[in-house]
């Protein structure tokens, strides 16, 4: 147990809306080791962001975590009191959001927002906190950090803002960082830089990283292990090279196949037919059944996550 930073067991988060129950996260389990990068991959609406929020207890009503365990060093985060959870947030587990313009408060200066993150968890005065913030900015590759600290978020470019967000996440030397699509809003060259730096930081400090994204190519270069999510459930997980080279789940295969570079020039892009079912209205049995070319009678039951070697797959007819 103690060699794993985070263990998520059968996490379930449901949203109780007027039009019905939305099963955003419906039985998600995975583990992350120290210094490891786990890619959590899936289409929009598959529940990956909610998974990230559930771990930190940031799910807003009408959503609620209804089941499962989230073990950080053996302590179940879901059972903690709000006060204790607050001590963990931003300190042992930090989060980076998708759109840094929205996550940084536009009317407060950068130094205010960084210093408060430090002082919420460490017994230091303003001056020391300021120095820590400065050092953190330098570590993420921001030049002239003192000047930057006195600026406002809108004075930064998108890539810079995201680096600041990462710096804030690293401030209190967390054991785990949850990054929710942090490079989706940036252009490709900046994205590559940030990926590289994130990876470097994690290797150096032993911080575990969960990188949530819909972009397989990002994960391919960055992650050690990958979990593929579909309609609120994990359908496949394993080492990234193995999964991407020899996928076991038909959905994973479809995802890989639909990446443009994997298609032949001149022939139509491969697609997965149909659309992902709405999370409020999941069909019984395997959620992928309607779009799967291998579906059979057995698929009217929900398949369990099965171990195949050191990989896992949720399918009755794996590839």
């Amino acid at each position: 147990m103690s060699d794993k930073t985070l263990v998520v067991e059968d996490l379930r988060t449901h949203f109780f809306t007027r039009s019905g129950v939305v099963r955003a996260v419906d039985g998600v389990s995975f583990e992350v080791k120290p210094g490891e990068v786990l890619g959590l991959v899936g289409e929009s609406g598959c529940g990956k962001t909610v998974t990230g929020f559930s771990i930190l207890g940031l799910v807003d009503p009408p959503g609620r975590v209804v089941g499962g365990r989230v073990l950080l060093d053996g302590k179940d985060l879901l059972r903690l009191e709000e006060k204790e959870l607050r001590r963990i947030r931003g300190a042992q587990v930090a989060m980076v959001f998708q759109d840094p313009m929205m996550t940084l408060n536009p009317v407060l200066r950068i130094d205010t927002q960084m210093v408060e993150a430090v002082r919420a968890h460490q017994e230091v005065d303003n001056e020391e906190a300021f120095q820590l913030a400065k050092a953190a900015l330098q570590r993420v590759g921001i030049a002239s950090p003192e000047e930057r600290l006195r600026s406002y978020p809108h004075q930064f470019s998108g890539g810079m803002r995201q680096r600041v967000a990462i710096a804030i996440a690293m401030l209190n030397r967390p054991r785990l960082i949850i990054a929710d699509e942090p490079t989706t809003a940036l252009d490709v060259t900046i994205q590559a830089q940030i990926l590289y730096e994130a990876q470097k930081l994690c290797r150096e400090s032993g911080t575990a990283l969960i990188w949530i994204t819909h972009d397989l190519s990002v994960v391919a270069g960055l992650a050690d292990r990958i979990c593929v999510m579909y309609a609120g459930r994990i359908v496949e997980s394993g080492a990234v090279d193995e999964v991407l080279d020899t996928p076991l789940h038909p959905y994973t295969q479809g995802l890989i196949g639909s990446v443009p570079s994997r298609n032949r020039r001149g022939s139509p892009l491969a697609q997965i037919p149909g659309i992902m079912p709405a999370l409020a209205d999941l069909p019984p049995g395997c959620a992928f059944r309607a779009r799967c070319s291998r579906a059979a009678a057995a698929c009217t039951e929900i398949p369990e996550l099965r171990k195949i070697g050191n990989r896992q797959v949720r399918c009755f007819h794996p590839l």
Binding site: R86, M95, F97, V107, L108, A120
Partner: protein, 314 residues
């Protein structure tokens, strides 16, 4: 710097336009001559009278004359009191300002916390009660509430004096100020509450609030620093304009409580057709408004850094 100058220039234009409107309105649409002459005057006396007041000159001359005098601070003499109209207004301005500021403070001190609470817990029964209460607040006719306040607190209970004004910043003064200030504040309090609630609700849903919580900040810090600073901008803008509204609306409260301010003088002057005083009131009020708008704009720029940069680039 350019920003400030530009705003000042705009304000001057507004003042000029309003002075024209007021002048044209009062001296053209109404008939000043008719008011002033008594039935016994002979035609020769009337003609002399008209000449003396300059009412036979062409309109634009009269206007320029008016402007020139106004710049000198001479807005004519009151028909009723005989004294310079401007002096009459300025004598009574402190009383009105005292009342307006007291009401403003009350509205802000009560309204913002109430509104923020309602915005943070929008589904709670307390919050719903606050919102319905706020609708009651701005539905209540101010003058009627004033009457009821006097009835209850002055007549029935005898705790507070019913009319008049005490000396500034004395206990007696505060006792006289209490009821009128509450009366005037009620309407604005309701508006401020609703505004604060709307702003808080919107701010609370923003990502930066979630991010602040994800950093592990205490809820009080999240609310008092992150949310409050963000709602301050729209709230301050509206509040600034509301201060002007308070000054104008004090007309009602001053009448009910016999508070010796500009508003009461205005009503009396309208009823007695004392035009110079009416004009003086309007000019002063418009000036006040323009100044307040200007200050609010500058405050807005100071509070929201994005505005400053936008203006600097423009």
């Amino acid at each position: 710097m350019v920003f400030i100058l530009r705003r000042i220039l705009q304000s001057l234009v507004v003042v000029l336009v309003m002075s024209l409107v007021v002048f044209v309105g009062v001296n053209v649409v109404g008939d000043p001559v008719h008011i002033l002459i008594s039935d016994e005057m002979t035609q020769a006396e009337i003609d002399r009278f008209i000449q003396k007041l300059g009412l036979d000159r062409p309109l634009h001359e009269q206007y320029l004359h008016f402007l020139a005098n106004a710049a000198r601070g001479d807005l004519g003499n009151s028909f009723v009191h005989g004294e310079p109209a401007l002096k009459l207004i300025l004598d009574r301005m402190p009383a009105t300002l005292e009342l307006a500021f007291a009401a403003f403070l009350l509205a802000v001190i009560v309204g913002i916390p109430l509104g923020m609470y309602a915005g943070l817990k929008p589904e709670s029964p307390a919050s719903r009660a606050i919102m319905t209460g706020s609708i009651l607040g701005f539905s209540l006719p101010t003058f009627w509430v004033g009457l009821m306040l006097i009835m209850v607190f002055a007549v029935m209970l005898g705790w507070l004096p019913s009319t008049g004004r005490g000396d500034f910043m004395t206990w007696d003064g505060l006792r006289h100020l209490a009821l009128p200030a509450v009366n005037l504040a009620l309407f604005k309090m309701a508006l401020v509450t609703r505004l604060a609630r709307a702003g808080t609700r919107e701010a609370a849903l923003q990502d930066y609030v979630k991010f602040a919580r994800a950093k592990g900040l205490s809820p009080s810090r999240v609310v008092l620093v992150h949310v409050l600073k963000n709602i301050l901008v729209p709230v301050v803008t509206v509040l600034g304009l509301e201060l002007g509204g308070l000054i104008a609306f004090s007309v009602v409260t001053e009448t009910v409580f016999a508070w010796p301010g500009m508003g009461k003088l205005l009503i009396d002057s309208i009823q007695r057709l004392d035009r110079p005083v009416v004009v003086a009131y309007l000019v002063i009020t418009v000036l006040m408004f323009v100044v307040i708008n200007l200050v609010v704009d500058l405050l807005y720029a100071a509070l929201d850094p994005r505005v400053r940069l936008r203006e600097m680039k423009a």
